[in-house]
């Protein structure tokens, strides 16, 4: 574990919190979906740092493409803006 890895972890933790806050506060649901995509991006880096490549792979596959598409399809079929 090198020093900069620790720094990246701290940074990632901040990103996660900001991203989660973004998901909650944005009125534009598409932006919220993008934010959740970024959350899973950071998470999969975290999982690799935690020596769990299997989980990182799963998070990458599920979080990036699948979750995004099902949310985007739902937004497409409902409303993009939260009121």
């Amino acid at each position: 574990m090198s020093v900069l890895t620790v720094l990246i972890v701290v940074l990632g933790a901040i990103f996660l919190v900001v991203g989660a806050w973004y998901v909650l506060t944005r009125k534009d649901l598409l932006v919220a979906t993008i934010a959740s995509s970024i959350i899973s991006l950071i998470l999969s880096v975290f999982f690799l740092i935690l020596q769990a490549p299997d989980v990182a792979l799963t998070e990458a596959t599920v979080g990036v493409a699948l979750t995004t598409i099902i949310f985007v399809v739902t937004i497409r079929n409902t409303k993009r803006m939260e009121e």
């Binding site: 769990a52 299997d54 596959t61 599920v62 493409a65 079929n77």
Partner: protein, 240 residues
């Protein structure tokens, strides 16, 4: 007002949870049962990836449940969104949607076989490298997703999906029952285990992961196709 109460409540809960989390030491060895897994996986089962051997063999029952959950999700989405078969086929997905750019379409054509190959690689090598049936299946489904979002006339044959899904599912559960018939336990390995880090090692684990891969791929493709073929605006008149 409600928000303040909730924030206060969450603050209290968060305080207690934090108190407990930070009491658990980080990064220290506290394995009990896992030691057995780390010992038995390379030595008895000859499977390099311990996570795989746990997922498929030691706790294979969970994976059966997991596959069932996905199966249920696809059934549920079908049952929630569509009423009749006819409606389903009639609502062609992106009838009014513009085509993707020509370039994107061509690149999808080229990338699709590569993605499927990658998925196949991931689930065939599930016991050697990270990944496995589920991840490989998701990757293949993503390949189909690529085609589904770029070509508006592309559609997946539901009948063949049903067949693949059923055969893969039956392979998984059937291998388990076969173990019972051969006088062993459910899902117990009955094949030679081979040498570690060879492709053909681990006995039934490889076969099960391939079956899981096919099943997950077909289920997720079905889900994506269903979700993408929803009619956009108003709906058919429905009553009980």
């Amino acid at each position: 007002m409600k928000k303040i109460i909730i924030i206060l409540l969450l603050a209290v809960i968060g305080y207690f949870l934090a108190d407990i989390f930070f009491e658990i030491p980080f990064g220290e060895d506290s394995m009990v049962v896992s030691k057995e897994y780390l010992d038995k996986s390379p030595n008895d089962l000859h499977v390099a990836n311990t996570v795989t051997s746990i997922v498929v063999n030691f706790r294979g029952f969970d994976t059966l449940g997991e596959v069932t959950v996905l199966f249920l999700a696809s059934t549920a989405i079908g049952s929630i969104l569509f009423r009749r078969r006819k409606v389903h086929t009639k609502l062609n997905p992106q009838r009014n949607a513009p085509h993707a750019s020509r370039i994107v379409q061509i690149s999808a054509k080229i990338l699709f076989p590569l993605i499927v190959l990658l998925g196949a690689y991931v689930f065939i090598h599930g016991h050697l490298t990270p990944g496995g049936g589920f991840q490989g299946g998701v990757i293949i489904a993503t390949g189909y997703l690529l085609l589904l979002v770029t070509y508006r006339k592309f559609s997946v044959s539901h009948s063949s999906l049903t067949w693949i899904e059923a055969i893969a599912g039956v392979t998984f559960a059937g291998i388990g029952v076969l173990g019972l018939i051969l006088g062993k336990d459910f899902l117990e390995n009955f094949l030679p285990v081979g040498t570690i880090n060879n492709l053909f090692s681990g006995g039934i684990i490889g076969i099960i992961y391939v079956a899981v891969g096919f099943k997950v791929a077909s289920e997720l493709t079905g889900i994506l196709d269903t979700m993408l073929s929803i009619k956009v605006d108003s709906e058919e008149n429905e009553q009980n």
